[in-house]
Amino acid sequence: MSEHLDLSQVNVDELPVVPNPLLKLEGATIQFGGLIAVNQVSFEIMPGDLFGLIGPNGAGKTTCFNLITGVYKPTGGSIKFEGNEIAGFNPSKIARAGICRTFQNIRLFGALSALENVMVGGYLRHKTSLLSGLALWPSAIRETEELKEQAMQLLEVVNLTDVAHARARDLPYGKQRRLEIARAMATNPRLILLDEPAAGMNPQEKEELKEVVLRIRDEFGKTVLLIEHDMKFVMGLCEKIVVLDHGEEIAAGPPSEIRSNPKVIEAYLGEPV
């Protein structure tokens, strides 16, 4: 057989359909001074995945998120979203490209109401110009109304309609976490990054959260990447998992494999995996 494949002879329809990865990290690296916080991390997330990123404290999980969302610029490697390089873009551009996140230490807009917080999330899809807002033109009013409606629907998804008009700062912790998810959802991202969404929650709240995450994936068709400390939560929720330790990727695969991976057990020494 000839070494050169003659493309004209290939029937495109007969090729197996392999979906393109939504997010692809290749050797992503970041170095702070002498410290390599994330070293050569590579993984692919397919559309519709429920993907987990785990690892002990200081493993570089949040730094990884910060690389993906543009808070930090990687010092090496590439990050591709839907086939386009996004490494080094500024955060707002990445959010516009379709990646949105929540924060480990909640970062809501404290003085704004829950509803307004979610409306801010919808802001990037705005079409009217600032000028029409300043002049209170009908198009701007209409758009504001639309945003408000969409925000209300999202609040319903995370069960927060009753506190829509309360100040975000005054909400209890669990509700703040859910509000952050609703806010991220409002940007209508294709990939949503959740940074320790279950941290500090009691078991019942965690169950509720699990349902919310599943709804986001199944009902809204979002791809989810989450960082979590709680092994039980991740194992019961995610379908694919990457394990980081000291900035390096030590394992990847479905939960069942991860559970029995000796490296992971070593990294978590003592913790039941």
């Binding site: 949040t62 910060n66 808070v71 924060f103």
Partner: protein
């Protein structure tokens, strides 16, 4: 090179006056540094810009003035003294008029009083105006500080002598003699000419020349003497300025010792690192804050006393504002919250101002502080020695 500079910028540089200007800048800068220390220490502990600090400086100057008056150097007392001397002279022609004896001891009392009064004022301001604002937004605390500053200025103009702007009597200061150091003497031919003119004059006097010739020679000698002085590179300053620089050095060394080696200083550093944790670790933060305010205010008081005594600057209730703002800029320049940074910033500021004057832009002297600040902040957003903290996400 000078010619090139002249054609490029149109400025004729007088290199021989540069060292003198640098020393002047150092003196001014050391005063800025003293005031800047107060800003930076308060900021370090409370994250508050103490806008009233310039007014504390003003009150320090007035304390020095009033204490000098109490010690017998009020305009009235001085006038009476000279009148009585003149009367004695009139009665007895052989009487030699005295001048008021200036005792260095008076200066020590003045500076200590200025420091003490300022320390108390600082503590009072902190207690009544800033302590209640401690858990409030920083903007609110800043507005309170502006309010206190306004209050001190305008209440000061009600109660303090202001018109005409008074100044501390020269008679207080025993250190008025000029001290001169020649770095590079005048060119040899000028010196030779001068020596020749001196010997020519002496020869003429000895040979009994007529008055006209001697007068001519004398004029020539004086003329050459002026040339020698103008072409030599020398530093001339009053003894007072030297005393000032030395005092600033002593105060800074004392501050350094206090902050680094004593328990009070350790608490201060802990509080400036993390106020809440420090209070949880059993540090009495209220006492630390009071101490910080007193320390900073006392330094401002010392600076004010020296400025008005040795430089003879006249004062008004509003005159704390300008040095206050400049010292604040100096603190920011060095990295606000950083003690060596404040000293560095203050001295740089003083040097920059005199250099701008030297270049011939004395009108822009007050703007140069901000221009330097802009340039530094563009490259180092946290100031020269400060660290710009990156917010953790």
């Amino acid at each position: 090179m000078d010619a090139l500079f002249y054609t490029l910028v149109g400025i004729d540089l007088n290199w021989s006056s540069l060292p003198q200007q640098l020393v002047n800048g150092l003196v001014v800068g050391s005063i800025y540094a003293l005031i800047a220390l107060g800003y930076t220490m308060v900021y370090g502990v409370l994250r508050l810009i103490n806008f009233a600090h310039g007014e504390v400086f003003m009150l320090g100057a007035y304390t020095a003035l009033l204490s000098s008056w109490v010690m017998g150097f009020s305009p009235d007392a001085i006038r009476k003294f000279y009148e009585s001397e003149a009367a004695k002279k009139l009665a007895d022609p052989s009487y030699v008029e005295r001048s008021i004896p200036a005792d260095p001891f008076n200066l020590v009392i003045m500076i200590l009083l200025a420091m003490a009064v300022c320390a108390v004022i600082g503590a009072v301001i902190e207690f009544f105006a800033y302590r209640p604002m401690r858990n409030q937004s920083r903007t609110a605390a800043l507005i309170t500080a502006i309010g206190v500053s306004l209050l001190l200025q305008y209440a000061g103009s009600l109660f303090l002598p202001a018109s005409p702007p008074p100044s501390v009597a020269m008679e207080v200061n025993p250190y008025q003699t000029n001290v001169s150091v020649t770095l590079v003497p005048a060119p040899k031919e000028i010196r030779d000419k001068f020596d020749d003119s001196v010997s020519a004059l002496e020869a003429a006097k000895e040979s009994g020349a007529d008055a006209e010739t001697i007068g001519d020679l004398e004029r020539k000698k004086n003329d050459l003497e002026g040339q020698v002085a103008a072409t030599a590179t020398a530093i001339t300053m009053t003894q007072g300025k030297i005393v000032m620089l030395l005092t600033v050095l002593v105060l800074m060394a004392a501050l350094r010792f206090l902050v680094l080696k004593t328990p009070a200083g350790r608490s201060m550093r802990a509080a400036s690192h993390d106020f809440d944790s420090a209070s949880l670790m059993g540090i009495n933060v209220n006492r630390v804050v009071t101490f910080t305010f007193m320390l900073g205010s006392a330094l401002a008081g010392a600076g004010a006393m020296m400025l008005v005594t040795f430089e003879g600057t006249s004062m008004q209730p509003f005159f704390g504002m300008a040095p206050g703002v400049k010292a604040f800029v100096a603190a920011v320049l060095g990295g606000i919250g950083n003690i060596p940074g404040a000293v560095l910033g203050g001295i740089l500021m003083g040097l920059a101002e005199t250099l701008v004057t030297w270049l011939g832009f004395s009108n822009y002297k007050d703007a140069v502080a901000f221009v330097i600040l802009f340039i530094v902040l563009m490259f180092r957003p946290g100031g020269l020695l400060g660290s710009s903290k990156v917010e953790k996400v």
